[in-house]
Symmetry: C2
Subunit: 199 residues, 2 copies
């Protein structure tokens, strides 16, 4: 739903404003959480009135939806072709690359935790997201298993749950103390135990 | 600082009220987060006025401090004697037992994520908590290594970071969808890869 065309005029202006509001939303939901963020603060950072912002995002939920759509759009680029060792290697490399822009890591960490509450507006979104992540990862690991790459000590479904959990947990530790944890290195150590070809 | 004596009179009444407020704090910080919780909501659930509650907890920070002290007190009972296989086995069993009272799991998940923000009042607390957890777990794994129980595929320090991350991440998935993840079973699969005697 995010407009990305570069036509001139009011439509382009709207698209630009939406895009700036979403960038601020990513930052603010990632630091204060959805629970701690207010649309007023987003309007302030945009240098506009709350009423003006509400013309584009009538409430905090609508901004949250746009932020999550933007996150999904960026993710879609990343998670292709995991079912080969090369594809998996690319994903592992992205763990370190993504640290250059920690906003999305913070957003994921804070929103997913908040969304464990059944009352949170993104509860269903995160339930679905994790189910999909587990399914996709399990399918990719099943293909690696067919290629003889998976240790018999685990199953594709179990490895999927574990690696998703490991990345979430390591990123939490990294966000709290960036010098304490090398996310990519730990993920490699972990995966090597179950997929010996990964080092 | 939590009063737990059973003397009668105003002191006992105060202790009881503090204890009830802390229980509500655990629940509310675990669902709405620190950011989303208000002292007014705590007072409402206690059936008392905000002013009355503020006599005991002048602000949200003071309740947060009491909640984290209570959590630490309960944790202290759990994390003894990890440096033997039996001790580690007890800890693993506690993962399933703790699911009977998910309030503390929610509290940990939501507050730790919120506290990644440097402005959060519990930021320093969680930085310190994770540093301590990593050190204690690494020391315990080092002792297991001396007993010949650790696979050479990892180091005690690395295994400590990984297992803490894994538990956090699995509990997040479990909170989102309780049927999707068996935390204890996945932790066993993980540990078995690095400590073969654990099944």
């Amino acid at each position: 739903m995010t407009a990305t065309t570069s036509t001139r005029g009011p439509y382009a202006k709207t698209a630009k404003l939406r895009s700036r509001a979403i960038a601020i939303g990513i930052e603010l939901f990632g630091s204060a959480g959805y629970n701690g963020a207010t649309l007023t603060e987003v309007a302030d950072r945009l240098g506009m009135s709350l009423t003006g912002l509400q013309h584009h995002f009538p409430d905090k939920d609508s901004l949250l939806t746009a932020v999550l759509e933007e996150r999904d759009r960026r993710d879609a680029v990343r998670i292709e072709n995991r079912s080969t060792l090369d594809g998996l290697e690319n994903l592992i490399l992205m763990l370190s690359e993504s640290e250059a822009s920690p906003g999305l890591i913070e957003l994921q960490c804070v929103l997913a935790a908040e969304a464990t509450s059944a009352e949170h507006p993104a509860h269903g979104y995160f339930q679905q997201r994790y189910a999909t992540l587990r399914d996709e990862a399990a399918r990719a690991f099943a293909e690696l298993a067919e290629q003889g790459q998976l240790s018999p000590a685990t199953t594709p479904a179990s490895l999927a749950k574990m690696v998703i959990a490991l990345v979430d947990g390591l990123q939490l530790q990294w966000l709290l103390d960036r010098g304490a944890v090398d996310v990519e290195a730990e993920v490699r150590t972990f995966l090597h135990a179950f997929i010996p070809a990964i080092h």
